[in-house]
Amino acid sequence: MNQRDLELLSSYLDGQLKLSDSARLERRLSSDPDLRAVLDDLRAARGLLRQLPMRKAPRNFTLTPKMVGKNPPLPRSYPAFKFVTSLATLLLFFTLGANYLVPQLASQPPAFGMGGGGAPEVYSAQAPEAAATEAPAEESEPPVQLAPLSTATASVAEDSARTAEIPSEKNGVTGEGGLENPPSAPVEVQQPVRPIWQVLLAGIALLGAVTMLLMRQLAVARWRRK
């Protein structure tokens, strides 16, 4: 019995042969008792396997949401709330940061005026050259006139004051020269974002977060009732 014949017989048993192949095999079967015996054996083996009892499943294999790690279905509007809340929170932090940092930067004394560190030394070494190139326009303006300027031009005023100070330090003029300059008046720097906007953004973020929490809890409760 070769492999080819065995496959033919097995397929014939299952009705998987073409009509022409089937007819050819039947002719061979009628004249070959060995082939017929193998067919009977295959049929008997298949019949026995079909006798195997189908056992009932010992339990139900249905899946629970927990097994599949599934989250409850959330309302369709949930992503919109999520987007608005995230955006409001982001903007709130941005405005808080801006309101804190902008006045800080505006009121900070110039770094190279502090003296001592390495970098300021470099600045002070380069400063006279810079001052020399920029001097013509600024030297004509006395520092006294810079003080009352509005907050928007406060940084420009300080830059001017800085350029005015550097040459005097270089020349070694300290006491009298410094006294000649009037003490700069404290400049009140306005915050770039009004607090009302921050309150509004905080309100939106809070409201969005609470709504999302409620939506989620309701969805979970509905999911558990199922």
Partner: protein, 202 residues
């Protein structure tokens, strides 16, 4: 049961729809696992694992026979279980000979010391068949279980085990012949209508 609608709903994430499909197929999936693994507990674990895996990957089902697709998942789960067993070997079903070697003859089940009542117990034939199935190479066993025990057609089996149709035909024919040879050791257990002529096709 509208299977296509349930599959569609399950693909949309409906666990209820998928559970309806599970209830419909769980017996045949469990029986397939049982015949491949020949252990109730392992078969139950593999069945559960197969359904879980099927739910997670149901979006990859592109139509055709859903039963064949499920059979593929349970076959994979069974193969995984068998690989685990290979790493953690347990006591073999077959008894050892006096030399400590595993007996390769299936005749050990027809213990001459057994009483006639025991021999004729209803589950003896099942045990004999299961023993012969276990003696087959895994790829033969899987094909014969699906085709002859589950009654799936060749194309479904080909989908389930991911091999060409010609390979299915070849494996099935050889598996049936080996089963026939193995079952010759249990002639006394076989129903009269299924008695095999000893050595008829040798």
């Amino acid at each position: 049961m509208d299977e296509q609608a349930l599959i569609h709903d399950a693909q949309g994430g409906s666990l209820d729809a998928f559970n309806t499909l599970i209830l419909h197929y769980q017996d045949s999936i469990f029986n397939t696992a049982l015949r491949i693994l020949s252990d109730d507990d392992l078969a139950a674990d593999a069945t559960q694992e197969a359904f879980l895996s099927a739910f997670k990957s149901i979006s990859s089902f592109r139509g055709g026979s859903f039963k064949a697709w499920l059979m593929r998942t349970v076959t994979n789960a069974c193969y995984d279980e068998l690989r685990r067993q290979k790493r953690r070997p347990t006591t073999p079903l077959e008894p050892d000979t006096e030399d400590g070697e595993e007996m390769d003859s299936p005749r050990w089940l027809a213990d001459p010391g057994m009483s006639p009542e025991q021999e004729f117990e209803a589950d003896e034939l099942e045990h004999a068949l299961q023993h012969c199935l276990d003696n087959l190479p895994l790829e033969f066993k899987t094909v014969v279980v699906m085709a002859d025990v589950q009654g799936m057609d060749y194309s479904e089996v080909a989908i389930a085990v991911r091999v060409p149709l010609g390979t299915i035909k070849s494996r099935l024919a050889r598996a049936r012949l080996r089963l026939r040879e193995c079952l010759q050791g249990f002639t006394e257990l076989l129903p009269a209508s299924f008695r095999l002529e000893e050595g008829s096709s040798a």
